[in-house]
């Protein structure tokens, strides 16, 4: 069995990472880049070999390996075990291939940074963690990778830690995803306790299908996991961290915050789709959230001026599509879109990085302009990416993947309550509008950046090492879609076929009523759906041309400050909302209670004891009040209001003795 290759796949970047961290000072910039890219490249090679082996195998069994038993006790059994099936194959290919290209790019891009070893250390560690995540066959193991990528994301966002804004952004990303992670952990615990202490994915899924898990458990677990996935994938209401995460170096944004990590949520749900399909309400929630997110993010992207932020919002929006697909039940489409999105979004980020590097780290699109002449190659690559993102019909990969989603949503229906369902038409309409908006904002970007006169000085050339990945990715963004095409055009279904074993396993297992809304192919969908899906981006492009393509000088805002803008602001509005409702109160309360209240109480009690002892002193020194006239002085501890009379101690003591005698006699006589 080629299972042994799986740990090797992970080990390679992991070893590179360890070496990079340990010998950070002794490794040259060049060596660091070489080591990192080499290790990821090696993984890419292995994953290709694995792909070959997996696809050419005769039976339908996935490759599996159990490294060791993490723990086995009476009621718990968790393994460090990996599994390669078509779903994870897709993911490792994306991670290693795109990752390799990005590393290659970064080797040049970051060459001048003094912290390059740390950078590549984190990057390779990220790749390793991501591979753990996608390969894990035990949800516990998956969770290790899940948190690991979050950590790397944190480290890379805050890579330039000298600027407090960057570290703040990094922390924000980590905190928000941590909230999701905690929810996910709860989901895992719920599954684990209900499913007999094992988180083996196959075990969980079979428990779902055999009805071992009650529906409430399934719904609860699905909800918890969904929250985790939403946070990781920056969906409503967790979307605020991703735009800020652009504070990291651009290759990071490309790899982590566009191509791979943020899609981990999608991957998780695709992995566990049987669990989710058994929870229709959660599916509906997922779809609606995805739809809302894609609309909201697209609108927000429309009014952004920062190039990377536009891309970030577009990432959120595209992830929204994937969640819509997942919510609809067509996880294959979601995965397909994930792949194409990885290509074109990585391309867009890398080109954006190339652009930004050339214009002296200016990220405001309105300060760029006229770049086409200075860097036609980059512009071409960007254009390719933009078209793929917009989903221009026929020639781009984005079109096919988006089309697959749209055509499936139309016939679906989403359960809201027993006997009440939400029609797929509505969501389809929204998604179509989203497609229009996508084309609008990305071509707004294109039209502002490239034509016209340069606004800022442009220097240097894009190095070849950076250009090669761009070219590769551009090719993939355009051609990557041909593996899966709608029947209406050419019936090519390489992708879904590849995933077939996994899908077969699922559809066989799921009870009929749970899959009522699932439609894998668009066969039953009307033709005009395809047409509409093709027209919407083109329309977006046209409108963008009308608005920004011809007009000079540059318009700085979207025309008509009305509804659309306020809607568009929603994206950043949530941020402010959270700040006011969560962050500031938390900070204030924490500040308020920075001195331990309980400590104060107990120390206060201690002080009271001392006061009490003062009282005993007063008894000693005090007087019957009858002894003699004396100077009445307040004690320094005025609160006791005890007075000290200049009196005779001897008689006072004697009086106590006699009083004690009287009391003792009385008590004895009354006994």
């Amino acid at each position: 069995m080629p299972g042994f290759l799986l740990p090797l796949l992970i080990l390679s970047p992991l070893a590179a990472s360890v070496i990079l961290f340990l010998f950070a000072k002794r490794i040259s910039a060049r060596g660091a880049g070489l080591l990192a890219a080499g290790s990821v490249g090696f993984s890419a090679v292995i994953s290709m070999v694995l792909a070959f082996l997996l696809l050419s195998r005769t039976n339908a069994d996935p490759f599996q390996i159990t490294l060791w038993e993490w723990m086995r006790t009476a009621d718990i059994s968790a393994h460090m075990s990996f599994l390669l099936d078509p779903v994870s194959l897709v993911m490792i290919l994306v991670v290693t291939v795109v990752g390799f290209l990005i590393h290659l790019y970064a080797a040049r891009y970051m060459a001048d940074d003094p912290g390059i070893a740390r950078f590549f250390g984190c990057m390779t560690l990220f790749v390793a963690a991501m591979l753990v995540l996608v390969l894990a066959s035990d949800l516990f193991c998956l969770f290790i990778g899940w948190e690991g990528v979050g950590l790397c994301s944190y480290l890379l966002i805050g890579f330039w830690y000298e600027n407090p804004a960057n570290t703040a952004a990094a922390r924000k990303a980590f905190y928000i995803t941590r909230i999701g992670d905690t929810a996910m952990l709860c989901g895992l615990l719920l599954l684990m306790t209900s499913a007999g202490g094992s988180l083996q994915i196959s075990h969980i899924l079979s428990a779902v299908t055999t009805g071992q898990l009650s529906s409430s458990v399934v719904s609860g677990a699905a909800l918890f996991l969904l929250i985790g996935a939403l946070a990781k994938s920056a969906q409503i209401p967790f979307q605020t961290w991703l735009p800020d995460a652009m504070a990291g170096p651009t290759p990071t944004s490309a790899l982590i915050h566009a191509a791979t990590m943020v899609t981990a949520g999608v991957y998780l749900i695709a992995r566990l789709h049987m669990l989710f399909t058994a929870a229709p309400l959660v599916m509906t929630l997922m779809a609606v959230t995805g739809t809302l997110t894609l609309l909201m993010a697209a609108c927000t992207a429309l009014v952004q001026t920062d190039l990377k932020r536009i891309l970030a919002w577009s990432t959120i929006s595209q992830l929204g599509y994937m969640f819509l697909a997942l919510g609809t039940g067509i996880w294959q489409a979601a995965l397909f879109h994930l792949v194409t999105h990885a290509f074109f979004k990585a391309l867009l980020f890398l080109t954006a990085g190339a652009i930004i590097a050339r214009v002296h780290h200016e990220q405001n699109i309105f300060r760029m302009g006229g770049l086409f002449r200075a860097m036609p190659g980059v512009a071409a690559a960007f254009l390719a990416g933009a078209s793929a993102l917009a989903g221009l019909p026929l020639i781009t990969a984005g079109f096919y993947s988006k089309e697959m989603i749209l055509s499936s949503v139309w016939p679906a229906s989403f359960a809201l309550a027993p006997g009440l369902a939400l029609s797929g038409h509505l969501l389809w309409g929204a998604a179509l509008a989203g497609a229009f908006l996508t084309a609008l904002y990305i071509f707004r970007c294109v039209f502002i950046i490239f034509p016209g006169q340069p606004q800022t000085a442009i220097s240097g050339r894009t190095p070849r090492l950076m250009a090669i990945p761009l070219a590769c990715l551009a090719f993939l963004s355009l051609a990557g879609g041909f593996v899966e095409m709608p029947d209406a055009l050419v019936p090519v279904h390489l992708f879904t076929h590849m995933l077939a074993p996994a899908a077969a396993g699922s559809s066989a297992a799921i009870s009929p009523d749970a899959v009522s809304h699932i439609a894998i192919s668009g066969a039953e969908a009307p033709r005009w759906l395809l047409l509409a899906g093709g027209i919407a981006p083109v329309a977006g492009l046209a409108v963008a041309w009308v608005l920004w393509g011809r007009t000079r000088p540059v318009m700085r805002e979207v025309p008509g400050q009305a509804a659309i803008v306020s809607l568009a602001r929603a994206g950043s509005g949530t941020d402010r909302l959270y700040d006011v409702f969560f962050v500031q109160p938390f900070r204030f309360l924490a500040w308020l209670t920075r001195h331990d209240i309980i400590d104060g109480l107990i120390t206060g009690a201690g002080r009271m004891t001392r006061r009490l002892s003062l009282f005993f002193l007063q008894v000693r020194a005090g007087s019957l009040g009858l002894a003699s006239a004396g100077t009445i002085t307040m004690t320094r501890e005025g609160d006791l209001l005890l007075t000290r009379l200049q009196n005779g101690r001897v008689r006072w003591y004697a009086a106590w003795i006699v009083a004690g005698l009287c009391a003792a006699l009385a008590s004895a006589l009354l006994a």
């Binding site: 002193l617 002085t633 004690t635 000290r644 005779g648 101690r649 006699v658």
Partner: protein, 123 residues
């Protein structure tokens, strides 16, 4: 031949004891305190003598003798202390004034013999 019964004697002794006690508590002059103590001791002696008579036992009177010895040495020591205090220039034999041993209420130089009121606590 006695005309006093034990309980009569005890009655007298109790009254005498209380009187002496009141003297110790009320008087401030050391001399008077010593005299009051003597009265109390006598009350105790009376009890012993009366009880000895009651039981027809000489031990009571032996005890009386011991009390006498105690009274003598206590009075002697007490008067020596009075003289000592007097010699140190205490304005009077007031048992109350000039407390050099105010304990925690001490303030200022203990040798000055002039405590200032009001300082409850040092440090």
């Amino acid at each position: 031949m006695s005309v006093l019964s034990l309980s009569d004697a005890l009655l007298l002794a109790a009254l005498l004891f209380a009187t002496g006690l009141a003297g110790v508590l009320v008087r401030r002059d050391l001399l008077f305190m010593l005299m009051s103590l003597d009265i109390m001791l006598n009350a105790a002696a009376l009890v012993f003598v009366a009880a000895g008579a009651r039981w027809h036992d000489a031990s009571g009177q032996v005890m009386f003798l011991m009390i006498l010895a105690l009274a003598a040495s206590e009075t002697a020591a007490g008067l020596a202390i009075i003289l000592c205090l007097h010699a140190r220039g205490r304005p009077s034999l007031d048992a109350d004034t000039g407390n050099l041993l105010p304990g925690n209420l001490r303030s200022g130089n203990p040798l000055s013999g002039n405590p200032q009121p009001g300082n409850l606590q040092r440090g």
